[in-house]
Amino acid sequence: MKLSGNRLAQTIANAYTVVFRGTPELLVLLIVYFGAAVTLTAIAQSFDASIKFIDVPPFWAGAFAIALIVGAYMTETFRGAFLGVDPGLVEAARALGLSKFQTFVYVRIPQMWRLALPNFGNHMLSLMKDTALISVIGVEEIVFVAEMATTVTLKPFTMYIVVALIYLCITSVITLAVMALEKYANKHLAASR
């Protein structure tokens, strides 16, 4: 939407990115969770006035919120990657007779993937870490479980350090995977020495 020439589409898309990159993740989460509950309750009440409250499964509220946030950052990355493709390559493809669609699939996408990869990796890492926030709205992910465990073991430090280590492992795996993918994506460049 951002790349289309359409001014209205651009403005909406810009607004989307500005809003979701400028607002704290926690806040987005809270808005989605509580807001969804209120909205659904209102909708349900219009059908059946006796319904007091609808509880939104926090998991889905959390997933939706994180998706919105990561989506906003990703559009910037993809836009950057799209613009970063050498226009010369695109011209060459068209000159050879490839259609717009074929150019997109066979020329643009492979180049974009290579350019977007480092930032994409960073987004994956942030996404991982944002999942910790879901504990705040009660989803039973690891931080939440740690809180529960603390009441039993009375050793909060140990509990949370374990959580930290788990996150560290996950982020390390993601980082290594991204590094490997980057090497693969750039192998045609390294070979020219």
Binding site: V19, R21, T23, L26, V38, K129, P156
Partner: protein, 232 residues
């Protein structure tokens, strides 16, 4: 269900009560974080293994774990140890405010040092060679050549980090602090109007992010004025 636009704007003044705390958290941890980042950077690029290793480990830990977990470890976790409870720093460490400052500063230090390192690596090696050829010492090269250029290169990424820090301050609300998000949550509990309240607080955050970005944009422009294209 009606959307009370009046409530959105009417709540903004109430939210500004929390703004003070938000800004305190932001400025203090940015400042301490920057100092930490400079020290970590120097350690990281020193080339000596006993300095590089702790720096790398520190950066790895604080970039690899969520800020929420970091805050929890410090605020909920540290009191587990007697020596903390008996120690000198206890009056500070029992306060959620200082625990947040500690967590946010450590987090900032790790991220900013990597940003600065990116700037340092971006300095054209040829310039440093020319300086060496002129006989300028390593320290002087770092101060007069590397630093000014690295700072200018780091500005875009640094401004993004400051914006992230602003958003991270919202996490203070999870440990009972009444920053803007904390105030918002209290208000929502009172008014049962989550959309309006949270949206109004979001507007303030967005405004802050916008101002920070504009501010840094101007700073970048100033620092790049010597890069005008060739006249000849």
């Amino acid at each position: 269900m009606t959307f009370d636009v009046g409530l959105v704007f009417g709540s903004i003044p109430k939210m500004l009560v929390g703004l003070g705390l938000t800004l305190e958290l932001l400025f203090l941890s940015s400042f301490i974080g920057l100092a930490l980042a400079l020290v970590t950077l120097l350690m990281r690029i020193s080339g000596r293994w006993f300095l590089v290793t702790p720096a790398v480990v520190y950066i790895y830990i604080f970039r690899g774990t969520p800020i929420l977990v970091q805050i929890f470890v410090i605020y909920y976790g540290l009191p587990q140890f007697e020596f903390i409870r008996e120690g000198m720093l206890w009056p500070l460490l029992r306060e959620p405010f200082w625990c947040c400052i500690l967590a946010l500063s450590l987090n900032a230090g790790a991220y900013v040092s990597e940003i600065l390192r990116g700037g340092v690596l971006g300095v054209d090696k040829g310039l440093l060679e020319a300086a060496s050829a002129l006989g300028i010492s390593k320290t002087h090269r770092f101060i007069y050549i590397t630093s000014p250029i690295a700072i200018r290169l780091s500005l875009p990424a640094y401004s993004n980090d400051i914006i992230s820090m602003t958003k991270a301050t919202a996490l203070a609300s999870t440990v009972t602090l009444l920053d803007m998000t904390g105030v918002a949550r209290t208000l929502v509990a009172q008014t049962f109007a989550p959309y309006e309240i949270f949206i109004s607080v979001a507007l303030i955050y967005i405004a802050m992010a916008w101002m920070i970005q504009k501010g840094f944009g101007m700073a970048e422009k100033r620092m790049s004025r010597h890069l005008k294209p060739t006249a000849g």
